[in-house]
Amino acid sequence: MTATAAMLEIKDLHAKVGEKEILKGINLTVRPGEIHAIMGPNGSGKSTLSQVLAGRETFEVTSGQVLYQGQDLMALSPEDRATAGIFLAFQYPVEIPGVGNMHFLRTALNAVRRKHGEEEVDAMDFLSLIKEKMKLVEMDQAFMNRSLNEGFSGGEKKRNEILQMAVLDPKLAILDETDSGLDIDALRIVAAGVNGLRRKDRAMLVITHYQRLLEYIVPDFVHVIAGGRIVKSGDRSLALELEQKGYAWVDAQVAGAPAPGARP
C-alpha cells in the first residue's frame, strides 16, 4: 500500500445489459492526481465501464464492488455521484432543444452547490465565472445562448463537455472517447482544456480507442480492456506498443492466458 488513499477501487466488477454480460471482472485502483488511460477495441466494454461508474441504469451490476472515496458508489443515484465529484464526459453528448446551455450549466452547478450547503450562484456571478472557463476550451459566448448541444458540431459538443467539467470541478473525471469524431485542431483544443484541469487532487480515467489522444493527454498508467476484463496494464509505452501491434495482439493474449490482476 502506498501512503495515498485510493480515490476509486473497482473490485471484480461484473455488469450486464439484458442477458448479455459485458463487464466480466474489472479490477482497477485510481489514486488522486493519477491519469489512467483505458484502451480497447470496439465492444470490449470500455464505454460500459464509464456508464456504469456514472450510474446509467441500463446496465445491471451483477457482482463486484466499486468504492469511491471509501464509499459504495453503486448505492448512489447518478445525481448523487455527480454531486460527490464524479464527472462523465459523454462520448455522445445529448442534444436537448429548449434548454438553454447557460441555464443548464448554472442549474447543474447550483445543484452541486446546494448539495454541499453552499449558496447558489446568481445569473450575474455565473456569467463572469463562465466567461473565464470558456477561455479554457476557446469557446465563444454565443454557445451559451444556444440550446444545450443542439446543432453543435462534434468538436463543439466535446468542448462543451470539457467546459462543464471545468465548471463542475469534479474529483474524478471520466472521459469517454472524448477524441472520437474530432479533427486534429479540435482534438488539440479539447486536450489542452483537459490538461488545464489536471490537478494533484483530481484523478482522470481517459477512455479511448486510439493512441493519438494520449500524445496530448499523457497518462500515468495504461490499461488494455478486452472481453470485459483488463488484460494488460503498464505505463504509456503500452499504448505505443498497442498502436504498433494492433488489437489483434491483445485478442491473442486474451485467448492465450487468463487476465492478470490489473493493478500496475
Binding site: R56, E79, F90, V94, I96, P97, G100, L168
Partner: protein
C-alpha cells in the same frame, strides 16, 4: 332586447334552427366527436348567468398592464374592467352590444360570414344565444398600436353558459395581435362556448393567441373560424391549460393565393382533464403555406386529443402543408390520441405530417442527472423544454411570460436563465 337590429334576432333563430337540424349536442358516434363526450354538457343550462353580482377583481387576469383590453364578466362586457383609451384612426374595438348600437351595419357585415353554424352544433348554439362579445375592425394599411387583450372571466358560481362571439376584420395590409384569455373567478361547473370569426384582407397579418385557462370545474368549447384573402398571414396559438373538459378548434381557409397560416398548440393536462383539439385547413387556393405544430403534455389520468384535417382542393397547386403532433405522456394513466386527416386533390403539392406519442428520453434524463440535477428537476426541465418550441412561437413577451408562469406552476422547472 329593445332596439336591437332585426338581423341579430334572425341570426339567433337560424342558429337555433341549425342546432336542431344538426341533432343537438354531438355524440361520440359522430367521427368529429369520437374521442370527446360532450353529452354531460346537456346538464348545464345554456342560458347566460344573470347580470350583476358586485365587484370582481380581474387584476390577476391582465396579461400586460396598460394595454388595450376589453373584459367580459359572465359573458357581458364590463366597462369598469376594460381599458381601451384613444385608439388611432382606422382601429375600432368595441363590445358587440356597443357595436350593435353604434354601427350595426359593421356587425351585420361580419356576423356569421366566416363561421359555419350549419356545420357545427356549438357554433350554432353560440349563434342561438348571441349576447355579447368583441368587435375589432382595422382598416386597410393600419397597424394596431399594441397587442389587444380580450378577457373572458366566469364569476357566477351557479351552472351557466356563456356564448362569447368575437369578430375580427383586418383590411388589406392591416396588422394586429390579439389574445383571448378565458378564466374563472370561481371553481364551479360552467360552460364557455366561444366563437371567433376572423376575416383577413389581402396581405393582412394577424397573430392570435387563445389562452384557455378556465377553472378546474369549467367546460370550454371554442372555435376560431378564419378566412384568408390573398397573401394574408395568420398565426394562431392555442394554449390549453385549464378546464375539466375543453375542445378547441381552428378552422382556416385560403380564399386567395399565397396565404400563410401557422397553427401552434400546446395542451397540458393533469388530473382528469380532457383536452381536445381539432384543426381544419382548407387549401382552396394555390400557392398557400400552412405550418402546424401541436404538442401535448399529459400527466395524471388526463387525455389529450388532436385531430388535424388538411384538405388540398383540386387546382390548389404549389400547396405546402406540414403538420406535426407530439404528445408526451408523464404517467401511465395518461393517454393521447392523434388523427391526421389529409385529403389531397392536387398533384403538385408538398404535404407532410407526423405524429408521435412518447415519454421523456432516458438518455437526456441520464445526461442531466449525471451533472448533479436531481431526477424530479431533470424531469421538469425536459418537460418544459418540450413545450418551449410552442411557447417561443408567441412573439408578444407579456403573453409568453404569462404562459411560462402557468407552466412553471403546473410542471415546475425553468428552461431559461
Amino acid at each position: 332586447m329593445s332596439g336591437e337590429p332585426a338581423f341579430v334576432a334572425a341570426a339567433r333563430q337560424s342558429g337555433a334552427a341549425a342546432f336542431q337540424a344538426l341533432g343537438g349536442l354531438p355524440t361520440t358516434r359522430q367521427e368529429a366527436w369520437r374521442w370527446t363526450n360532450v353529452q354531460p354538457l346537456g346538464r348545464i343550462p345554456f342560458d347566460a348567468p344573470a347580470p350583476g353580482g358586485g365587484a370582481a377583481d380581474l387584476g390577476a387576469l391582465q396579461l400586460a398592464p396598460g394595454t388595450v383590453r376589453l373584459a367580459f364578466i359572465d359573458g357581458r362586457w364590463s366597462a369598469a374592467h376594460s381599458s381601451v383609451g384613444a385608439l388611432p384612426a382606422g382601429v375600432r374595438l368595441r363590445s358587440l352590444q356597443q357595436a350593435l348600437r353604434d354601427d350595426p351595419a359593421a356587425v351585420e357585415a361580419l356576423l356569421g360570414q366566416v363561421a359555419r353554424a350549419e356545420e357545427h352544433p356549438f357554433t350554432a348554439l353560440n349563434a342561438a344565444h348571441l349576447l355579447d362579445g368583441a368587435v375589432l375592425e382595422i382598416d386597410a394599411g393600419v397597424t394596431a398600436p399594441s397587442p389587444i387583450e380580450l378577457v373572458f372571466a366566469q364569476r357566477a358560481a351557479s351552472p351557466a353558459t356563456t356564448h362569447p362571439r368575437v369578430l375580427i376584420r383586418l383590411g388589406a395590409g392591416a396588422r394586429a395581435q390579439v389574445a383571448e384569455l378565458y378564466a374563472a373567478l370561481s371553481t364551479g361547473a360552467y360552460l364557455t362556448n366561444a366563437v371567433t370569426e376572423v376575416s383577413l384582407g389581402e396581405g393582412a397579418e394577424l397573430e392570435h393567441a387563445k389562452l384557455q385557462m378556465e377553472g378546474d370545474g369549467g367546460y370550454h368549447v371554442g372555435t376560431l373560424w378564419a378566412a384568408q384573402s390573398r397573401a394574408s398571414h395568420l398565426r394562431s396559438h392555442v394554449f390549453s391549460l385549464g378546464a375539466l373538459l375543453a375542445r378547441s378548434e381552428v378552422s382556416a381557409r385560403f380564399d386567395g393565393e399565397g396565404g400563410r397560416c401557422e397553427l401552434n398548440g400546446l395542451y397540458v393536462g393533469q388530473g382528469q382533464q380532457h383536452l381536445d383539439h381539432h384543426t381544419s385547413l382548407d387549401h382552396k387556393s394555390p400557392g398557400c403555406t400552412s405550418r402546424e405544430v401541436y404538442k401535448g403534455i399529459l400527466d395524471g389520468r388526463s387525455r389529450g386529443v388532436f385531430t388535424g384535417a388538411v384538405r388540398v382542393r383540386e387546382g390548389a397547386q404549389k400547396t405546402d402543408a406540414s403538420q406535426s403532433n407530439k404528445a408526451l405522456l408523464l404517467s401511465e394513466d395518461a393517454s393521447a390520441e392523434a388523427t391526421p386527416q389529409l385529403q389531397i386533390f392536387a398533384d403538385d403539392v408538398k404535404c407532410a405530417h407526423g405524429a408521435a406519442v412518447g415519454q421523456l428520453d432516458d438518455q437526456a434524463l441520464f445526461y442531466l442527472r449525471s451533472r448533479g440535477i436531481p431526477l424530479p428537476q431533470a424531469r421538469a426541465l425536459l418537460t418544459r423544454a418540450f413545450a418551449e418550441e410552442v411557447v417561443r412561437g408567441v412573439s408578444v413577451a407579456p403573453w409568453q411570460r404569462r404562459i411560462e408562469a402557468v407552466l412553471a406552476r403546473k410542471l415546475g422547472g425553468e428552461v431559461r436563465a
